[in-house]
Subunit: 699 residues, 2 copies
C-alpha cells in the first residue's frame, strides 16, 4: 500500500460530520481544522449547510470532485451504502471510525465482510472499522478523535486499542514526545499491522516504529517482513494477551485468537522486534532510538553529582549484563587535572554535590572522547548548588558537538528539575525518571545493535528424497490417517538423512534369532501390532538381549503372554532391532503454531526434561547457528559438552539433526507435530540415531 | 533511643546559622522558619546580631537555656570544640550537617571518632555527620536543607544518600506524597538505621518505614529487630551496591564494606523486609501500604473503560502469580442488570469507552461486595466521554464507604487525567502510571500478608554434646590450627547427632583385613597422613573393596607406592571405613557472612551442583520449615522426591541435618566455614551418613 492518500491527501471528506460538540463527527472535523490541515475539507451531512464555517454537503456526490480520503462517522448499518458511493465516486482511501462490526458478534462480522467485499471490488483500502482514526504530524493531519495534534518527531505508533492511543496522545502532549504518525488500526478489516509497518519502513519521517497489538494476523509473513524492516529501523511492540488470563480477556475483547506465547517470543526474536512490557517502557526505549545514535558496544560511563544514584546505576549496569566502562588513562588524567580533588575520576565520575553546569559539561565532553566509552549516562539530583537548567543546556550542546555516541540522562526529582527536563526533551536527549529505566534502554539499544550485526541468515538445504516423503504423506492424507506409524515415520526420517536403528520383523522365534545374529548383539525386541499403542504396558519391549537363546525366549514369551493380556490385538510379529551404542538421549521436535508456522523444539532427554523442563524453541527454518543456539539455550548444555571428565557428545550432529528436521517440516506444511525421541548421540565423529519418532498430519 | 528531642524539641539552636542565601546555615534556618516550627529557635553565629528577624547568639552558652536540639553547620575541625560545649551545657541531641569526616579518609575518620567519644561520654546522641538533616511533618520541623516541608503522611524515610533524599523531597512535593519523617543518616557515626527503624516502629504517625541504604552496620541484630518490626508495619528498603560494580562504587563512595548479596537477600526475606529496586518502585509500594488496608488474599478484580489496558492488567496479574478473581454469580447478575449490554460483566469488568463516573461507581461498589474479590484495580483511559474527575471522586467515596478491601487505580494519560489523579492522591487512593506498577504493588502486598501470617519461627534445639566440640575447637584455636582434620570434624559432627561412616586405622595389612571383616563389605580405604591433603592424587583412596584379600592388596600397594610419590609424608596408616549404601549425595554447608552471621547452604550433589549451580541459602538458625524450604528452593528438588518411578529419599532427614548443622555453627561462632560433602541420604527411614566434612576456624 502507499501512504499518500491516507497521510497526505489533497482533500478529505468527513461523512457524518457534526456541529454538536462531544459527537465524534464534530471532534474529528474540529481536530482537522485546529491541526491546520492545508488541503480541502468537506463536511458531509444532509442536515446542515455549514459546520465550523465550512460548507457542508448533503452527500459525497454533491461535492463535485473526488476526495482523496473519506472518513466515515456514521451508523454501522449504512456504512455499506456509503462505501458503494465511494466506489462509484472513485475514492481509494477510507477510514471507518464507526464501531459495531466484528467486535459485537455474528451480525457485525457479516456487515464487516460486506464492507470489505465492496472495498476489494472497487480497489478501496480501509483503515478500521472501530478505530480512532489517524494522525500525521508532518502534514498537519489529525483525522482522529483521540486528542490534539502532538509534536513532530520520529516515532510512528500503531495501536490495536483506540483507548490506549488516546492515553498515549495525552501523555505525549504533556511530555513533548514527538510523533511522525499515529494510527488506530481498529478491527483491521483490510489494512493490518503488516501493511502499515511495511509502509512506515519507507517513511522518511519515521525513525522508530512502535505499536500495541493484541493479535498478529499473518504471523509467518509478518516475521519475514519484520526481519527485513528491523534492519532499516527498530520496531518496538507491546503484544498483550500473553498469559491465559490476558488471552481470555483479549479474545472476549476483540475476538482474535491468541497464538502461543513461546511462538511470539521466538518470532519477535528472529524478526529483531524489541518487545515492550508497558507503554512507559516503550516510550523509554522509543525516545532513545528516535533521537540518539546507536552505541558501538555496551561500555557505559556514568557521570553523577551524587554517590547514591551512581551506585544504583552501577548495580543496574552490571545486573543487566552491560559493561561498566573502564576509563582510559588519559581520560582519568584529564578529569583529575580539572575536577576538584574530592571528585571520583573513575567510573562513575562523581562531579560532586556542588557541581554546576561547567563540571558536567567538562566531564561529558571528556567521557565522549574516551575510546573505551560507548555510551554516557548522566545522573543529576537537585542539591543546593545544582543548576538543572544550565546543566541540561550544556548536555544538549556537547551532545550536538559530539554526536557519535548516545547520551542519556536521569535527572531525579520533579519541580526543581522541570526546566532542565524540558530543555533535554527539546534537545533530543532521552531523559528517564529512574536509573533503571535509563539502563534498561541502553541494554535494548546494545541488543538491537548486536541483532543487526549478526551474520546473514543462511539456511542450509540438505539433499533429500522429497518424493518419497510426498508419497507417504499423500497416501495418509488420502486415507484420512492422522498418525504416521513407526515404520513409515522412520522411512520419512531416512529420506531426510537421519539414521534409524536397523532391524526387521520376525514371525517365528528362529527368524528372530537369525535377525539378531545378523544385527549383532545386544538387540532390542518390540511387539509389532497396530492395536498395541503402549508396548511396554503389555510386556512388549525387551532390551539388552545378548544371545540367540535370549532372543528366542523373549519371542516365545511375548507370543504366549501378550494375547492373554490383550486378546483382541492383531499381532504381526516382533521387531528385532539393533541396540544403540551408549550416548546421550535428546529430543528433537516440532509443533506447528497457528500464527507462525513450525516451531522447533530441542530438549534434553531423560530426567532433565522431566525435572527441569529443559527445552528450547526456535522458529523453522533454522540456520546452523540458530540450531546450535537452541542447544546452548538449555540449562544443562554443559552436560552435552561433557562434565566431570565425561566425554562430550557431537554437538554439531545434533544441530544438523535439528536443521534436517526443520527442512522436513518446512517443506511439508501437512506435518502438524513431530518428535524424534530419543535421538541418541555419541562422541564426536559417531553417527546419531533417531531411535523413535512420532508424527501427526493435518488430514 | 527516643525521638522526642530530635523530632519534637521545645527549642532548637543552629550553630553556624547564616544570613547569606545559598549557604547551608541559611537554608536550614529559613526552612525551620517557613515550615512554621512552633518552639524556640536560636541562631548561633558570633558575626551577626540578628538573622531573619531572630536574635542571634555569639555562642551556645549565651543563649541562657539548654536547647533540646542543636544543629551544627560549621567547619569540621571545630565540631569537637562545639560538641564539648554541648556536653557542658547538657544538650542531648545533636545533628551534625557538616561533611569532611569518615568519608574523606583517615584524618576525617579520626575526627569523627573524637566527636563520637565526646558524645558517648556526655550521653549525647548524634545524627550525621555529613547529612542533610531531618524533617518531621507533624511537628512542622524542617531541620534540613533538602527542600520544603512535604505534606503530612504515613511514610517515614531514612536515606544514606543525602542527594537522593533531596530528589525524593522534590518528587514528593510535586506528587503530593505525604511523609511522617525524613532522616538523612549521613555517616551514621552514632545513630544508625537500626536505631531509627526501632524508633519509627513505635511512631504513631508512621505507617510504613522506607529507606535507602548502602550498608547495614550490625546485620545480625538488624535482622532480629527488623523481623519483629515487620510484624508491626512494613519496611521497604533499597539496598544498593548489590553487584560487584555497584559495591566498588559504594565502597569508594562511603567507605562501607559490601556484604554478600545472597546474605542480604536471605536476611531481608527472613526479616520480612520488602526490597525495592528503584525510588519509583519504592513509592509505588509505599503509597499503597500507607493508605490502604492489606488484602486478605490475592484475588484481583479489574474494572476498565478500555479493552487494551484490561488485557495488559490480566497479563500482569497472571504472570506475577496473582489470581484473576472469578466473580460471584450474584455479582455477575447485578452487573448485567445495570451495565449496558455490550459491557463485559466478567473480570475484567469493562464499563465501556463511554462510561462516566456512575458506571465506575456502581461497578466498584459491586466488586467490593463480592466475597471472591480481595482487591480491586481500576483502569481508566481518557476517551471522549470520560470524566476522570468525577470518576476519581466516586472512587474515593466508595472506597471510604467500603474500607475493608484495598482499591488501587491506574489512570493512563497526563493532562486529561491530572485533576482526577489529584483527587485520588488527596483521597488516599494509590494511583499508578502503568498497569505493571499497580499489579507489582498488589503482588508485594499479598506477599507481605503471607509473610506476616506464616507460623511463628521455632528453632528446635537438639540435645548435643557441646562440651566435646568446645574442647576440640578450643584446642585448635590455642594451637593456631585453622583447618580441623577429618577425624576431629567427624567427632564434632557425631557430637551433634550426625552419623559418620564407621572405621578404624590399620597399620598392617592383616589389621586392615580384620577391620574390614568386622565392618562388613564393601569397604573404603584411605591413606592416613597429616601431610597428604589430596589423597586421591597419590592413589590414597580405594573404594568398593569386596574381600579381605582385596583389602590386604590395597593396603600393601599404598604402602609401597605412596612413599615413592611423596617421600616426606609421615604416614600413620590406612583408614578402613564402611562404604555407604547407595543413596543420593547432597551437600550441607555454611559460610559465615561478615554482616549477617552463619549463612546455611544446601546443594544437590554430583553433576547438578556443577552444571546448574543448584544450591540454596538461608540464614541460621533454621527452623524445620526453613530447612525444608531450602530443599524445595533447589531446581532439582523433584529428584529428591523421586522421579520416573525412582524411590525418593528421606527429605526430613536432610532437613534435620541442616538444622543440626545450623545449631552447631550458631553455638560456635568460631566456625568460619563448614561443608558436609557428601551427605548421603537414602529412602525414608534410613540413616543418612556424613561421609566427608571440612571445617575452618577463626584463629
Amino acid at each position: 500500500m502507499s501512504f499518500e492518500s491516507f497521510f497526505n491527501p489533497k482533500s478529505v471528506a468527513i461523512v457524518g460530520a457534526s456541529s454538536q460538540k462531544g459527537k465524534v463527527g464534530y471532534e474529528i472535523l474540529s481536530n482537522m481544522i485546529s491541526a491546520g490541515y492545508g488541503g480541502k475539507l468537506y463536511p458531509v451531512n444532509n442536515k446542515a449547510d455549514e459546520i465550523e464555517g465550512l460548507k457542508c454537503y448533503p452527500d459525497l456526490e454533491s461535492i463535485g470532485s473526488v476526495p482523496e480520503l473519506v472518513i466515515l462517522v456514521i451508523p454501522a448499518k449504512i456504512v455499506p451504502m456509503i462505501m458503494q458511493q465511494c466506489a462509484k465516486l472513485g475514492t481509494k482511501s477510507v477510514i471507518i471510525i464507526t464501531a459495531g462490526f466484528k467486535e459485537v458478534g455474528k451480525e457485525g462480522k457479516a456487515l464487516e465482510e460486506k464492507v470489505v467485499q465492496i472495498a476489494r471490488e472497487a480497489g478501496i483500502r480501509i483503515i478500521g472499522p472501530n478505530c480512532l482514526g489517524i494522525i500525521d504530524t508532518a502534514n498537519k493531519l489529525n483525522a482522529c478523535f483521540g486528542g490534539d495534534l502532538p509534536d513532530v518527531g520520529g516515532i510512528a505508533y500503531l495501536s490495536q486499542s483506540g483507548a490506549l492511543l488516546a492515553a498515549i496522545l495525552d501523555i505525549a502532549t504533556a511530555n513533548k514526545i514527538g510523533f511522525s504518525k499515529l494510527i488506530s488500526i481498529g478491527n483491521k478489516a483490510d489494512i493490518g499491522e503488516l501493511d502499515l509497518i511495511k509502509a512506515l519502513a519507507n517513511d522518511d519521517e519515521t525513525k522508530v516504529i512502535a505499536g500495541y497489538l493484541e493479535s498478529i494476523t499473518d504471523g509467518d509473513e509478518f516475521v519475514r517482513q519484520a526481519e527485513k524492516i528491523s534492519h532499516i529501523k527498530p520496531i518496538l511492540l507491546i503484544k498483550s494477551g500473553s498469559t491465559a488470563a490476558g488471552a481470555t480477556a483479549a479474545s472476549s475483547h476483540t475476538g482474535s485468537l491468541a497464538g502461543s506465547e513461546v511462538a511470539y517470543e521466538t518470532a519477535f526474536e528472529r524478526a529483531g522486534i524489541i518487545r515492550c512490557e508497558s507503554i512507559k517502557q516503550q516510550f523509554d526505549y522509543a525516545q532513545a532510538f528516535s533521537n540518539q545514535p546507536l552505541p558501538k558496544d555496551a561500555r557505559v560511563a556514568v557521570i553523577t553529582n551524587a554517590g547514591g544514584p551512581g551506585i544504583m546505576a552501577a548495580d543496574a549496569i552490571e545486573s543487566k549484563g552491560l559493561k561498566f566502562a573502564k576509563l582510559d588513562e588519559k581520560t582519568i588524567e584529564k578529569l583529575g587535572s580539572t575536577l576538584p580533588a574530592a571528585a571520583n575520576i573513575h567510573n562513575p565520575i562523581d562531579v560532586l554535590g556542588d557541581s554546576m553546569a561547567d563540571r558536567y559539561s567538562f566531564a561529558l565532553s571528556t567521557a565522549l572522547d574516551d575510546p573505551n566509552v560507548d555510551v554516557v549516562l548522566i545522573l543529576l539530583t537537585p542539591q543546593a548548588m545544582t543548576d538543572a537548567k544550565g546543566t541540561a543546556e550544556a548536555i544538549v550542546k556537547i551532545s550536538k558537538e559530539k554526536p557519535a555516541k548516545p547520551v542519556l540522562t536521569c535527572f531525579l526529582g520533579a519541580n526543581k528539575i522541570a526546566e532542565g527536563v524540558e530543555i533535554l526533551r527539546n534537545g533530543k536527549i532521552p531523559q528517564y525518571d529512574s536509573t533503571d529505566g535509563a539502563v534498561a534502554t541502553i541494554k535494548v539499544m546494545t541488543e538491537y545493535v548486536r541483532w543487526k550485526s549478526r551474520p546473514k541468515r543462511v539456511v542450509k538445504l540438505f539433499p533429500v528424497n522429497r518424493r518419497k516423503v510426498e508419497n507417504i504423506i499423500e497416501r495418509h492424507i488420502r486415507q484420512g490417517i492422522r498418525e504416521v506409524g513407526e515404520t513409515e515415520s522412520k522411512e520419512i526420517l531416512e529420506a531426510y538423512g537421519f539414521f534409524t536403528p536397523k532391524g526387521s520383523i520376525a514371525t517365528t522365534a528362529d527368524q528372530a534369532g537369525n535377525i539378531a545374529e545378523q544385527l549383532g548383539f545386544p538387540v532390542v525386541m518390540k511387539i509389532w501390532s497396530p492395536d498395541i499403542l503402549h508396548k511396554s504396558d503389555v510386556g512388549g519391549v525387551k532390551v539388552g538381549l545378548k544371545s540367540v537363546q535370549e532372543v528366542k525366549d523373549a519371542f516365545d514369551l511375548m507370543m504366549y503372554r501378550i494375547p492373554k493380556k490383550q486378546p483382541d490385538a492383531h499381532i504381526l510379529g516382533v521387531l528385532v532391532q539393533e541396540m544403540c551404542k551408549s550416548g546421550k538421549e535428546v529430543i528433537l521436535g516440532m509443533n506447528r503454531d497457528p500464527h507462525f508456522g513450525p516451531l522447533m523444539m530441542f530438549g534434553m532427554g531423560g530426567i532433565m526434561v522431566e525435572v527441569l523442563k529443559d527445552v528450547s524453541f526456535h522458529l523453522a527454518p533454522l540456520t546452523s547457528d540458530e540450531a546450535k543456539q537452541m542447544l546452548i539455550d538449555t540449562k544443562t548444555y554443559k552436560i552435552l559438552k561433557g562434565v566431570r571428565g565425561q566425554q562430550g557428545v557431537d554437538i554439531d550432529k545434533i544441530a544438523e539433526g535439528l536443521q534436517r528436521l526443520s527442512q522436513l517440516v518446512t517443506e511439508f506444511p501437512q506435518i502438524l507435530e513431530m518428535d524424534i525421541n530419543p535421538f541418541v548421540v555419541g562422541p564426536v565423529g559417531s553417527t546419531p540415531i533417531a531411535v523413535d519418532a512420532r508424527m501427526s498430519l493435518e488430514v
